[in-house]
């Protein structure tokens, strides 16, 4: 082991000071010790279940003996996946969630963007108050938000319904056509503030000099907002979109709560509800296949969107 003085001398002498010497960094065992507390649980609770789901998804159930018989599982190839793709309920749930996403995500992100932009201009007073109120729903877990909104949708309890009835409107928030959008509303309520904050933080880190030139040219706040600010914070908008896509495909809690009060939400309303219903019917192999397909769709859509927008933005 070289002595400290020699090592110090070597550090000083190497150009740029950034060249790392052998033995100047931590030993392999130390690196291992830093990484393993995360990595072991990560393998056990992230990677292994993924592997297990893949394994389960290629198994089928067989049965021997009589009316009730005894069951066992065996290799089934792509049997479960075939069944998933032939299952009309699966496609219905994916279609539903797709429709949900195509409308809800842009609407929510647009509102979030508008709020973020407004907060970034001198047009508003009481900015911190508005920022806090927009952010508050983020503190509410999805299930509780859905419970709260279910009361606001209930014809018996809702003051909103009472109000609308009073002016002659009779909306049925829980009706077959509307219930999907009632669920979408809950998601919007929950996540707008969070997404707004992401965009707002990005806006706040834009140096003011960038606007000076535009203002001197007479650009209005509106023009500055849409032609300068938005393109600059495009990466954060992309990020929020990706996370929103991922979240939408996993939707479970909000429709499940609405299902407790509306018969227009079936047990297979969203892909995850389908997976859970199938698992409750003890068909774990099929449920695994459904989970894998949803995960793959999620990955393709989110990754694809990121790639697409990076290419477009030339990032």
């Amino acid at each position: 082991m070289t002595d400290i003085a020699t090592r110090a001398a070597r550090v000083v002498q190497s150009p740029g000071g950034r060249r790392r010497l052998n033995g100047g960094g931590p030993r392999a065992g130390t690196i291992f010790a830093f990484v393993i507390p995360f990595f072991l649980p990560f393998v056990l609770f992230y990677l292994v279940p993924v592997g297990y789901a893949l394994w389960q998804s290629v198994r089928v159930v067989r049965r021997t003996g009589g009316q009730y018989g005894t069951s066992y599982t065996t290799f089934g190839g792509f049997d479960q996946y075939e069944k998933v793709f032939q299952n009309s309920e699966f496609w219905s749930s994916v279609g539903r969630i797709g429709l949900f996403g195509i409308v809800q995500v842009p609407v929510m992100l647009f509102v979030a963007l508008v709020i973020a932009l407004l907060l970034d201009t001198p047009l508003l007073r009481l900015k911190s108050v508005f920022r806090i109120t927009a952010f508050m729903p983020y503190a509410v877990p999805g299930v509780i938000a859905a419970i709260m909104w279910s009361y606001l949708y209930s014809p018996q309890l809702s003051p909103v319904v009472d109000l609308l009835n009073g002016i002659g409107l009779h909306p049925d928030f829980l009706g077959p056509g509307a219930v999907l959008w009632s669920a979408a509303n809950i998601s919007t309520w929950l996540w707008t503030g969070y997404n707004m904050l992401i965009m707002f933080s990005a806006l706040q880190s834009i140096p003011q000099e960038l606007y000076e030139a535009a203002k001197l040219d007479g650009a209005s706040n509106w023009a500055i907002a849409w032609q300068i600010k938005v393109p600059i914070i495009a990466p954060s908008i992309i990020l929020t979109t990706v996370f929103s896509i991922i979240g939408t495909l996993q939707l479970y809690a909000e429709p499940a709560v609405l299902r407790q009060i509306s018969s227009n939400i079936s047990s297979t309303f969203t892909p995850n509800m389908l997976a859970y219903a199938v698992a409750s019917g003890n068909n774990y192999q099929q449920a695994a296949a459904i989970s894998v397909v949803i995960a793959v769709i999620t990955f393709v859509l989110s990754f694809g969107f990121m790639r697409l927008t990076s290419k477009r933005a030339g990032l």
């Binding site: 056990l44 021997t64 005894t70 066992y72 077959p176 079936s266 019917g281």
Partner: protein, 444 residues
């Protein structure tokens, strides 16, 4: 150098962890058949786990615990997701000794090898004579063993707001045709008044109606389950209610037992209730102001066929993995045949007992003040006698019920008919049985 070692070490950990975990979970080996277990009393104190969904059951159990210091029973209420909870527990090997299982779920759980056959216990086989025949037939799977003891039943009858019928001068219907006619008359007289509500999310209720019309949806022959969910008898029931729904003569927006339902009855918007024996306490407890206005009469019949149907009721099953079969049988027998226990279950949980002794309970021979002091239980006892004993449930009943409910909800909202719902349920039955490798074919 160090980096490679680190990488190798991390990789090794990943592989080792995966192998260890995956090796620990073997693929489901053929599970053991439901074999008759031995029945020997334990030495010393025993604690049993009993999962149930009945209100007030903890007090009944407390009564037993007081009398039986050596056989203590712990209860857990699993009303929220009864079968999900049970099924998960079975999968995890942590099933209780005894559990509430509805009659309609017995075949389903049997295919998961959820039960243990208690026929080695003499008290279990001797219990046969203590119960109403159709209930024993279902819990013993046609006398092939003792897998559960019947607890309560739900013989159906018609609850009627006699004051409303009197007001509009309509005779209380005795047949379904008369019922439909009455529905039209009532609605015509008062457009806000409906004769009853159709809850599309209640497959159990609908199955009771199919049962009444002798609809044999499942049977076993030729080494296969023969599935006829959408039989002619089922179609007759479906078409009947579809007509009422399309004619807007019944409400479709209320769930059984919900606050909205009570609110509607409270506001005199609904004139009758097609219900079961255990429902009598619902109105008594939630609509106290309507005391004296309700009467209970036999279910409307299909022409001259006086059969009745059953809605609900459940059994207490001996679950696989129970380590104390003897004590479980002792407790279970007491729970479901002892007059004191039955009286308490009836009083607190509104249970209508399946045991013969229960039908003689003092509480069930008296007039009930809420219902004009009528002996309403005579009606239910009578209905009980007319329940078809050959009706059978399917081995994937839960999945079929869910599919049926989803489709009935659509029909109630105007998308398709109730008969379409039946055909959807038929397809779901065949598919789910195929998924579980249960031999099945479309019957008839």
């Amino acid at each position: 150098m160090s980096s490679t070692r680190t990488r190798i070490r991390l990789g090794a950990v990943a592989v080792a962890a995966s192998v260890a975990v995956l090796a620990g979970c073997s693929s489901s080996s053929p599970s053991t058949k439901t074999s008759a277990a031995s029945c020997a009393p334990a030495k010393g104190k025993v604690t049993l786990q009993y999962w149930n969904t009945v209100p007030g059951m903890d007090k009944v159990v407390a009564l037993w615990n007081k009398k039986n210091p050596n056989i203590q029973v712990d209860t857990k209420n699993i009303s929220n997701d009864q079968y999900g909870t049970l099924s998960n527990a079975l999968k995890a090997g942590k099933a209780p000794d005894l559990s509430q299982v509805g009659y309609d779920e017995l075949p389903n759980l049997r295919t998961q090898n959820a039960f243990v056959d208690a026929s080695a216990c003499s008290a279990a086989t001797a219990a046969k004579s203590k119960f109403v025949p159709w209930t024993w037939s279902q819990t013993s799977f046609g006398n092939t063993g003792v897998f559960a003891l019947p607890q309560d039943t739900g013989p159906m009858a018609l609850y009627v707001r006699s004051d409303i019928f009197k007001k509009y001068d309509i005779a209380i219907p005795t047949t379904w045709d008369e019922y439909a006619a009455a529905a039209a008359k009532l609605h015509k007289a008062d457009s806000k008044l409906d004769i009853t509500f159709f809850d599309p999310n209640n497959a159990e209720w609908f199955n009771g109606l199919l049962w009444q019309n002798d609809s044999q949806m499942y049977s076993y022959s030729g080494d296969k389950w023969q599935v006829t969910v959408a039989s002619a008898q089922s179609k007759q029931v479906a078409d009947y209610w579809q007509k009422l729904i399309s004619g807007k003569l019944v409400r479709t927006d209320l769930a059984n037992g919900s606050t909205q339902m009570y609110a509607a009855y409270q506001k005199d918007q609904i004139a009758s209730y097609v219900g079961a024996a255990w429902g009598y306490s619902m109105f008594r407890d939630n609509l106290p102001k309507q005391s004296g206005k309700w009467t209970i009469v036999p279910m409307p019949t299909w022409g001259s066929n006086g059969a009745s149907g059953d809605w609900g009721g459940s059994t207490v099953a001996f679950m696989k993995g129970s380590k104390h079969l003897y004590e479980s049988v002792e407790f279970n027998t007491w729970l479901n045949t002892d007059p004191e226990a039955l009286a308490l279950e009836n009083q607190l949980g509104g249970l209508y007992p399946a045991a013969n002794a229960g039908l003689q309970l003092p509480a069930l021979s008296k007039g009930v003040p809420y219902y004009n002091n009528e002996k309403i239980f005579d009606v239910f006892a009578d209905s009980s006698k007319k329940i078809n004993t050959s009706f059978a449930w399917g081995p994937t009943q839960k999945t079929v019920n869910l599919a049926l409910q989803d489709a009935m909800a659509k029909a109630a909202a105007g998308d398709g008919t109730l008969y379409d719902a039946l055909t959807t349920a038929q397809a779901a039955a065949l598919k789910s049985m195929k998924d579980q490798a249960i031999p099945a074919a479309a019957g008839k």
